[in-house]
């Protein structure tokens, strides 16, 4: 086994181990830190595939943005030190069974299918190429999705402000009374 293959298996084990810990640990702050390590492992996998730009995007957006946002919301909503209640036993057993069955099913389908590459050219990606095709209006450029995404981000930002804005006290108390 070559060093490259060994590095791939180490990265895979790291991603899966930290992912399992992120969904099974009962302290929510630790779960978010394990998620952080899992996302860093995925960025390492992109580095291993020689996609430096995508790895940088992954680290900036996920590790620097989303996980920090999740940690902020943990501190705003619950006491991070205390343990979450155990999941109901029957529910976790049936979830594990469903997951094992689904994994086996998909792994079998993948292993039976022979993936044949169409062409034999080597893959090399430059940021220049990404930028050119991203803002191209012809030759399968991605200008329209790019603009749609920018509108979506603006809408999401305004929506977040509208949802999370503090309403005045009277409305809040009437809502409290109505749900009790």
């Amino acid at each position: 086994m070559s060093p490259s293959a060994i590095i791939f298996y180490i990265i895979s084990a790291f991603i899966l181990g930290t992912g399992i810990l992120a969904v099974t640990t009962r302290k929510i702050f630790r779960a978010s830190i394990w998620l952080l390590f899992s996302l860093i492992g995925i960025a390492a996998l992109y580095f291993w595939m020689q996609l430096e730009f995508l790895a940088a995007v992954q680290i900036i957006v996920y590790v620097g943005g989303i996980v920090v946002l999740i940690i902020f919301s943990i501190f705003l909503t619950i006491k991070s030190g205390e343990e979450m209640p155990k999941p109901i036993l029957t529910r976790s057993i049936f979830a594990a069974l469903a997951v094992l069955f689904g994994t086996g099913f998909v792994v079998r389908i993948i292993s039976l299918y022979a993936f044949k590459p169409i062409s034999t050219t080597t893959f090399n990606l430059s940021v220049n190429q990404i930028g050119t095709q991203m803002l191209d209006t012809k030759n399968y450029g991605y200008l329209l999705p790019f603009e749609l995404i920018s509108i979506l981000l603006l809408a999401a930002m305004i929506g977040c402000i509208v949802i999370a804005i503090k309403s005045n006290e009277k409305d809040a108390t009437t809502f409290q009374n109505s749900i009790q």
Binding site: L16, S38, L45, I118, Y142, P145, A156, I163
Partner: protein
């Protein structure tokens, strides 16, 4: 690089996706459910990139799909956290079992 077949990367993303499914099934806290969804989105990104690199090396469309998925995941996480904070204000809990007014 070349001695790792494509199927091994697909196995990795499959297992990661089902880890996310397991978290979504067992957790009842909204923030941890959001974390599981992030894991699932990441496994899909690995698939896009691997298929692009191994099967269509002369194109870069898979990279674009990954970038768009990452962007939409960021927007989705922001909206979800706004909803979670609003739910905490009205119910003083972010457990999905406690928000039952619209059930049935």
């Amino acid at each position: 690089m070349s001695e790792i077949p494509l199927t091994h990367i697909l196995f990795l993303s499959t297992v990661l996706f089902f880890i996310g499914i397991y978290g979504l099934f067992t957790r009842r806290n909204m923030i941890t459910m959001l974390m599981s969804i992030e894991l699932m989105l990441n496994s899909v990104n690995i698939n896009f990139v691997a298929f692009n690199k191994y099967l269509y090396p002369e194109k870069i469309d898979g990279i674009f799909f990954s970038i768009f998925v990452i962007t939409i995941a960021a927007a989705e996480a922001a909206v979800a956290i706004a909803i979670i904070i609003n739910l905490y204000r009205s119910h003083h809990s972010i457990d999905v079992e406690d928000a039952t007014e619209m059930k049935y």
